[in-house]
Symmetry: C2
Subunit: 210 residues, 2 copies
DNA sequence: TGAATTAACTTAACGTCGTTCAGTGAACGG
DNA sequence: CCGTTCACTGAACGACGTTAAGTTAATTCA
């Protein structure tokens, strides 16, 4: 009587096939190439079949990037065991930038594209769990730095600090992704720019000079 | 015998009408609302008429934002007379953020959307002229700060420094534009985040503490 | 076993989009 | 006054996301 279970398993398989096809298109040719019809072609189904597994195209993309939010969180988690919160932040920044440069199309969709009301309810990630939620990891690190008295005394809001740190690395890397083909500017490697900015910001945020 | 001149004048007028209609749609309803057919409706022409004045939709958007690059450059120019380059940079950052928050749709298109090979040749702005080119203004300010010996001695590349500064303000403001509807994060006002980050970065980049 | 139900899937279609092409009619030049 | 040029239009093409109706096969129940 395991027919129901088998059906669910098969349904899950197709769901994953859709996501895999979408990811291939997304990575290789970018957002515009991810078309219901082209996804369907790759998995040898009709375009409308996708609607049996996802509400609409947006849901496909959200599910796709859920997987990548998880991957990002896991990559940050790798360096979660660094003792000094400031050093941990530095290394998180580097990992974040590596992630963005390795998956620019995903990064664009995840962090450079507005998603109307994309609340946690539509996602499978548990908010606040640092193993799944990269933001919780960053915020937690900032809070640790504050609690350990490492930062200047006027810096007491971990959200504010974490958002500033995020803004710094995001700014450098998203500028690079959006405008690296812009010939107005003589671009420097984003890693170098980010290293400079992070180092300066950290120095400016620490309680005393070393 | 001024018929040719009159024709050119009329053509320029329609071009401007197209841009104005496109801007209205863009500001009020965002990128997706800017449709050749909807632009045409507003100016009471057929959609194909637009192609007599612009190569394609992309050209309309580029021309539209050219005007806004100019506006941004002019707003920066207003504070161009601040003596101290560091203070000038601080105020430029604030002006930049104000611009982004006042024109989020334009900002998105200008700085958060990749434009394949958008070189200066397609634009009417003269590269390097700080009155028209905001990037030249920023880079120049960074160069001044370096030349005046205000920055730490290892900072010798004005491009690197200027790109870091740009990255900082861009990061905060673009994160806000892209994700302010994201309920995962308890967002702080972008002005506050940017102020914190800028102040920290500046402090970390100056040669000595005040 | 055979009829009824359910689920997965397809085909056809709608309305939108950017863009192209074959006209049309008025203004212009000789 | 005739031929040309010019701004412009309407219909059309192929793509898009999405919906509705129909088909087919597996499952359930009598």
């Amino acid at each position: 009587m395991g027919t129901k279970e088998r059906r669910e398993r098969e349904k899950e398989e197709i769901r994953q096939k859709i996501l895999d096809a979408a990811r291939e298109l997304f990575v290789q040719e970018g957002y515009d190439a991810v078309t219901m019809r082209r996804i369907a072609d790759r998995i040898e189904y009709s375009a409308t079949a996708i609607y049996l597994h996802f509400k609409d195209k947006r849901a496909v993309l959200i599910a796709l990037c859920d997987e990548d939010f998880l991957r990002l969180a896991r990559e940050l988690q790798k360096i979660g065991r660094v003792e000094d919160p400031v050093e941990r932040m530095r290394q998180s920044g580097r990992a974040y930038i590596r992630f963005a440069l390795e998956h620019p199309n995903h990064y664009r969709w995840m962090f450079m594209t507005p998603h109307p009301d994309h609340g946690p309810e539509e996602s499978g990630i548990r908010v606040g769990n640092p193993e799944e939620d990269a933001w919780a990891f960053l915020r937690g690190t900032a809070a640790e730095a504050i609690d350990a008295g490492l930062l200047r005394p006027e810096l007491t809001d971990p959200d504010l600090v974490a958002q500033a740190v995020w803004g710094a690395v995001h700014g450098v890397v998203s500028l690079h992704i959006a405008k690296c083909n812009d010939h107005w500017v003589d671009w420097r490697p984003p890693q170098e720019v980010a290293e400079l900015l992070m180092e300066a910001a950290i120095r400016g945020v620490l309680r005393r000079e070393a």
